[in-house]
Symmetry: C2
Subunit: 220 residues, 2 copies
C-alpha cells in the first residue's frame, strides 16, 4: 500500500502552488493532502513521509507544522466533524419547521452522498476501528461526534412526535452507520439503497395510532 494515486504531485521543490491564491502555505497543502490520503487509505496505512511528499514538501516541514502524526489525525477528525455538520445543516435547513421532511431529506442526502464512487463511508466511523482503545487524542473527537449524531436524531424524532422518540432516533442512527459500513464492502448497489424507504417506514410506524398492535398476520 502507500502506492497512492498521486494527485497533482510536483517535482520536488515547492514554488508550485503560487499560481493565484495567496500562495498556499505548506501547512495547508499538507493538511489537504492528509485529508485525502487518510480518507482513501485509512489512518495507519498512510505515513507522514508519504503525506509530506504527496504535498510537495518533506518530513521536516511536516513536523514544523504539526507536532505529531497523532495530532494531525486528531485535527483531521475535528475537521471532518465540521464538514459533516455543514453537510447536515445544509440538508436540513430548507425544511425548517417540518422535522419529518428534515429527516427524509437528511437520509436522501445521505444515500446519494454515500453511494458516490468516491465515498469510503464515514471517516469518523472508520477511524474508531483503527485507533487504539483508550489514549489516542482522536478518540474523544469521534465519541463526541457520534454522541451528537445520536442526540440530533433523537431530537428530530421527538419533534416529529414519535411514540418512542429515543428508539426511533437510535434506529435511524443504526441505519446510517450500517449504510456507511456496508459502503466499504458492497459497491454502489449495496443495501444502503433501502435506507431512504426504511426511514419513511420507521417514521410511519412510530406515528401510527396504536402501538404496533395486533396486525400479526401469522404468515398465511
Amino acid at each position: 500500500m502507500s502506492a497512492i494515486g498521486s494527485l497533482e504531485r510536483s517535482g520536488s521543490s515547492g514554488a508550485v502552488a503560487a499560481q493565484v491564491a495567496p500562495k498556499r502555505r505548506v501547512r495547508d497543502r499538507i493538511f489537504e493532502t492528509a485529508r485525502q490520503l487518510f480518507y482513501r487509505h485509512g489512518l495507519r496505512a498512510v505515513g507522514v513521509e508519504a503525506i509530506a511528499c504527496e504535498a510537495g514538501t518533506n518530513k521536516v516541514s511536516f513536523y514544523r507544522s504539526f507536532p505529531s502524526k497523532d495530532e494531525l489525525i486528531a485535527e483531521y477528525l475535528r475537521d471532518q466533524c465540521k464538514v459533516y455538520w455543514q453537510w447536515w445543516d445544509g440538508c436540513v435547513a430548507p425544511y425548517a419547521g417540518d422535522p419529518r421532511r428534515q429527516l427524509e431529506a437528511l437520509f436522501d442526502g445521505f444515500v446519494s452522498l454515500t453511494c458516490k464512487d468516491s465515498s469510503r463511508g464515514c471517516s469518523l466511523g472508520n477511524a474508531v476501528i483503527e485507533l487504539p482503545e483508550g489514549s489516542h487524542p482522536g478518540r474523544e473527537v469521534i465519541e463526541q461526534h457520534k454522541s451528537e449524531m445520536r442526540e440530533r436524531l433523537r431530537s428530530l424524532a421527538r419533534q416529529i412526535g414519535a411514540r418512542d422518540a429515543d428508539e426511533l432516533g437510535d434506529t435511524l442512527l443504526l441505519l446510517m452507520e450500517g449504510g456507511y459500513l456496508t459502503r466499504l464492502t458492497f459497491s454502489s448497489d449495496g443495501p444502503i439503497r433501502s435506507a431512504a424507504k426504511a426511514v419513511r417506514r420507521l417514521i410511519d410506524s412510530h406515528l401510527a395510532p396504536e402501538p404496533t398492535a395486533h396486525p400479526r398476520k401469522k404468515r398465511a
Copy 2:
C-alpha cells in the same frame, strides 16, 4: 462471535498446553492467539512476533506454520465466517418453519451478543476497513461473507411474505451492521438496544395490509 475473553493464558514458555488433549500443536496455539489479538486490537495493530510470543513460541515457528501474515489473516477471516454461521444457525434452528420468529431470534441473539463487554463488533466488518483496497487475500472472504448475510436476510424476508422482501432484508442488514459499528463507539447502552424492536416494527410494516399508506398524521 468468537468469545475472545482471554482463555487460559499461560506465563511465557510453551510446555503449558500439554495437560490432557493430544498436546496442542504450535500451529493451533498460534492460530487461537491470533484470533484473540486480531479481534481485540485489529489486524494491523498486531505483529507476528507479538502473536508468536503470546502463544508461547517464536517467530520462526510462526513461519513454519503460516506462509505469511496476510495468509494468517485470510485464514482467520475464514474461521470467523465459520464461527459466525454456526452462531447464526444456532439462533435460527429452534424456530424452523417460522421465519418471523427466526428473524426475531436472530436479532435478539445479535443484540445480546454484541452488547457483551468483550464484543468489539464484527471481525469481518472491522477487517474491511483495515485491509488495503484490492489485493489482500482476506478481501474476498469478507465480500463473500457479507453477500451471504445479505442473501440470507433477504431470503428470510421472502419467506415471511414481506411486501418488498429485498428492501426488508437490506434494511435488516443495515441495522445489523450499524449495531456492530456503533458498538465500538458507544458502550453497552448504545443505540443497538433499539435493534430488536426495530426489527419487529419493520416486519410489521412490510406485512401490513396497505403499502404504508395515508396514516401521515401531520404532527397535530
